[in-house]
């Protein structure tokens, strides 16, 4: 069942020259996690604020659980009547309330005994039992994050919105919190929308990813497709290292410096195209004389990323296991193993 639906949303801030969101359509299925991925200023936070009800788009519609909350000539439903929970980037905990009071804040309509039970359950869920009487400033960053999640989850929202939830945490805490949050979402069956600029985070958490650039939707797909078959050059480079190999269509194939690729998109003969190659698609074997030369090496722990120079002057990258090291200057032959062929017209 579709729980959240945004259709043809356009939004321009007052005094802004360009729209923050342009003709954006998205859907989130019940129980799924959607990740909105993009560089800073791409409009991803605006999408979240539109779902929450803090921004009112000039055109388009927002549906939450089948109810129209914005657009279609009706007055936008205010945030407090939408049943969304939000976790803010800086947590936005109420500084004058204890942990317990923060989590109980949204439970006023339940009776006191029921609210107390919910608070206790939720604090148990996020692993904060025993800290009920602390004030926010007496907690560590990770603990504040847990309170923010508990506070948003306690009223059992239709959807949980998370705005760059891990960006204020130390790197070593980030992975741990991410796994914990995923586990909490899974156990409670909560539908979630996570805004992030970190593609690893999006890949790890999301069932579907929406890549945004300058207020426009570049691609809306599952994580694997986003990585392997990006639909635009922007997506290709934003979610990982990518090289673009120049080629020309001849006899129904694409001929490049390093080999021949199938013409999957059926480009007419004679056209110049580019083949996207990820570093894990290329393997290198030392050879003399070889087809390329190693000109750089970055050690990345489990792998080495080599920069290769082709005779034409173009650079390619290849990632190899870090157990063997080839010195810079080595001449190598390339073995391109591309399971997904992605072609782009030359710019």
């Amino acid at each position: 069942m579709t729980l959240i639906e945004l259709s043809h949303i356009s939004l321009t801030y007052p005094n802004a020259a360009t729209p923050a969101l342009y003709d954006l359509s998205l859907r989130v299925e019940e129980g799924a996690t959607l990740s909105i991925l993009g560089p800073s200023g791409c409009g991803k936070t605006t999408v979240l604020r539109t779902i929450a009800g803090f921004e009112h788009p000039q055109s388009g519609q927002v549906l939450i659980a089948g109810r129209q909350v914005c657009g279609g000539g009706i007055r936008c439903v205010p945030p407090e009547e939408r049943g969304v929970g939000k976790v803010f980037q800086d947590y936005a905990l109420f500084p004058h309330l204890t942990v317990w009071q923060n989590v109980a804040f949204g439970l006023r309509r339940e009776g006191k005994p029921a609210a107390d039970r919910t608070v206790e359950e939720t604090l148990g869920l996020v692993g904060l039992g025993g800290l009920e009487d602390r004030y926010p400033h007496e907690l560590s960053g990770g603990q504040q994050q847990r309170v923010a999640i508990a506070r948003a989850l306690a009223p059992k929202p239709i959807v949980l919105l998370l705005d760059e939830p891990f960006s204020n945490l130390d790197p070593d805490m980030r992975g741990q919190m991410r796994e914990e949050v995923q586990e909490i979402l899974r156990r409670t069956g909560t539908t979630a929308v996570v805004v992030t600029h970190d593609h690893d985070e999006a890949f790890a958490m999301a069932d579907r990813i929406a890549v945004l650039n300058s207020g426009r939707l570049e691609q809306f797909d599952n994580p694997e497709s986003i990585y392997h078959t990006p639909s635009t050059r922007f997506v290709a480079t934003f979610v990982g290292q990518a090289d673009f190999l120049l080629g020309r269509v001849e006899d129904g194939k694409i001929h490049t410096e390093t080999g021949i690729f199938p013409n999957v998109d059926g480009h007419p003969p004679g056209t110049a195209v580019e083949v996207m190659i990820r570093p894990d698609d290329i393997h290198i074997v030392p050879a003399s004389p070889g087809g390329a030369q190693i000109v750089g090496r970055q050690f990345r722990g489990s792998e080495n990323l080599y920069t290769l120079l082709l005779p034409s002057g173009q650079h390619l990258h290849s990632s190899e296991s870090s157990t063997t090291v080839y010195p810079i200057g080595t001449t190598v032959d390339l073995r391109v193993v591309a399971t997904h062929i992605v072609l782009f017209p030359t710019p």
């Binding site: 929450a52 009800g53 803090f54 205010p78 945030p79 407090e80 009547e81 939408r82 969304v84 929970g85 939000k86 803010f88 980037q89 800086d90 936005a92 905990l93 109420f94 500084p95 004058h96 309330l97 804040f105 949204g106 006023r108 309509r109 004030y135 400033h137 506070r151 948003a152 009223p155 929202p157």
Partner: protein
């Protein structure tokens, strides 16, 4: 190569032991100097107050009555100030009130109007022989006292009206820096705008309201000028009465002692009240909250804001300008009283300069000493500020009369009193600015072989220049306006502007008082205006 052993003393930098030692001696020297400046008057006052013979001169019941009256006057005027400040602050910061930026600027002006001038303007209007009574008497043909500003309620009215900016400024600051995400998260948790204000915004403002309220309360408790003009019997006016009319120094000392105890009690109470809660919500990424649309409340809200500004800014200034009369009259008063200007200007200027230099040294020493010594230094300086002017005046009279009679009755005592009262403004300004300077700058200079003295002169002083100018102006303004201690300490015939205003008002020469008041307000507002202008242009 063997490493040379280094001996590190806790709290000093091992890099330069000799200069560290000098700095330590400097800190101790400063601590002693500040201690000698502030503490002896209070100790001597206490000694005089607790001597046995004084107990008989002021009876217990009358003391309790006076305490009750002083405290309820301060409390009620603080509540009145809160009632004025809160709606005004919320309207100018968070709503689309017309002219809200101008309003925000105007609302601070009452700080430039000393409360005794405020009292003067309302006495001119609503006093027994004031404008309103005269006009109503003429109109009805019945000379009768229709309205009367004198007394307890007049005191409450005036003090609240001229102290509300303390609360207003702090509440505006808190509203500015509150992270809007906190209010937004309350919305997602099911509260409407009214609920958010009641359950989130107001509780978060509480520390600012309390802190501003404390300033207003202490001001009201220690104020002498306006309450004396309004003929209210509270501690300060009674101390003055005992000293100047009944010449009973020991009764005055006892009253002063009790007043100081009350002030300290309020300060200690405030510490316990705020407790462990911290309200720091300032974050780097906080956006500015979108203004609330007033809708059909736009005009009632404007009327309220206009009313508050009318009572506290336009009406008083209007009365002063009307009373001052023609330009010729104005010039005549100025020519007559030129000597008093000079007195005010040079005493305040001298006090400000001394406070600036001492403030720099003390602020730097307190920062370097850190820990208990540093806190002790700035804490001692703060005591001076907490002593009501009347009490300080009396304490200095008692002390110098007994031990340094050659100093008593000189201008030196006056400057000393200004220094004791206002040094903390300078120290706190310098400390705040020093706290904002990246300590790595100092460490970098030290690693380039600069001594602490060189660091202070070549790195910190230039960076602090705007602050030093600001604290000089602040102390200058405060000293220019000082009435309570000046009235007791001035050498015979050495009147300052505030003293002349006070005397003219007592003698019902309102026109002369108005001219001098306008000049005093201009003289104190000018440095402040220059400062804000420069700050806007980022020169300061």
């Amino acid at each position: 190569m063997k490493e040379a052993p280094t001996i590190a003393f806790p709290g000093t930098l091992p890099a330069a032991p000799p200069s560290g030692w000098i700095a330590k001696a400097g800190v101790i020297g400063l601590l002693a100097a500040v201690g000698l400046l502030v503490l002896p008057p209070l100790v001597h006052l206490t000694a005089t107050a607790v001597r046995l013979e004084t107990v008989g001169s002021v009876s217990g019941p009358s003391l309790a009555l006076l305490a009750g009256k002083s405290l309820s006057l301060a409390g009620l005027s603080t509540l009145w100030a809160m009632a004025l400040a809160l709606p005004l602050a919320w309207l100018v910061v968070r709503t689309d009130l017309p002219f809200r930026n101008v309003g925000r600027w105007l609302a601070v002006i009452p700080l430039a109007i000393p409360s005794y001038i405020g009292a003067l303007t309302y006495i001119t209007l609503l006093g027994p022989v004031g404008v309103v009574n005269t006009w109503l008497g003429g109109w009805t043909g019945m000379p009768h006292q229709w309205v009367n500003i004198y007394g307890f309620w007049g005191g409450v009215f005036i003090l609240g009206l001229f102290t509300y900016p303390y609360i207003f400024l702090l509440v505006c600051g808190a509203l500015d820096t509150t992270n809007p995400a906190i209010e937004e998260s309350a919305r997602t948790l099911g509260e409407n705008s009214l609920g958010v204000f009641r359950r989130v915004t107001l509780p978060m403002l509480r520390p600012s309201i309390l802190a501003g309220g404390l300033l207003a309360f202490l001001y009201a408790l220690s104020d002498f000028g306006s309450l004396s003009l309004l003929r209210v019997h509270v501690f300060t006016t009674e101390i003055y009465h005992q000293l100047n009319t009944r010449f009973d120094q020991s009764a005055a000392a006892l009253l002063s002692f009790v007043l100081v105890l009350m002030t300290l009690g309020v300060l200690v109470g405030q510490r316990t009240l705020l407790g462990r809660r911290s309200y720091v919500t300032v974050t780097g990424t906080a956006r500015v909250a979108r203004p609330v649309s007033l809708g059909r409340w736009r005009w009632p809200a404007s009327a309220l804001a206009g009313g508050i500004l009318g009572l506290s800014v336009f009406l008083p200034l209007g009365v002063l300008i009307a009373q001052a009369g023609s330009a010729r009259q104005f010039a005549e008063v100025v020519r007559d009283q030129w000597g008093f200007f000079r007195n005010s200007l040079w005493t305040a200027g001298l006090a400000a300069t001394l406070a600036m230099v001492l403030g720099l040294l003390i602020g730097y020493a307190a920062l370097r000493a850190r820990g208990r010594v540093g806190a002790g230094l700035s804490g001692t300086v703060q005591i001076g500020y907490a002593i009501p002017g009347t009490v300080l005046g009396l304490s200095l009279i008692l002390l110098y009369n007994t031990y340094l009679p050659w100093l008593y009755g000189t201008v030196g005592v006056l400057v000393l009193a200004y220094l004791i009262r206002f040094l903390t403004q300078s120290v706190q300004g310098v400390e705040a600015a020093l706290g904002g300077i990246n300590p790595h700058l100092e460490e970098a200079a030290r690693s380039l072989a600069a001594s602490p003295g060189t660091v202070l002169r070549r790195i910190l002083a230039p960076l602090l220049r705007p602050t030093l100018f600001a604290v000089w102006a602040l102390v200058f303004i405060s000293a220019m306006k000082e009435l309570d201690a000046t009235l007791l300490l001035r050498p015979a015939g050495f009147d300052t502007l505030p003293v002349r205003i006070y005397i003219h008002t007592v003698e019902a020469e309102y026109a002369k008082a108005a001219v001098l008041s306008l000049i005093l307000i201009t003289l104190t507002a000018l440095p402040w205006l220059v400062m804000t202008r420069l700050r806007e242009k980022k020169i300061l």
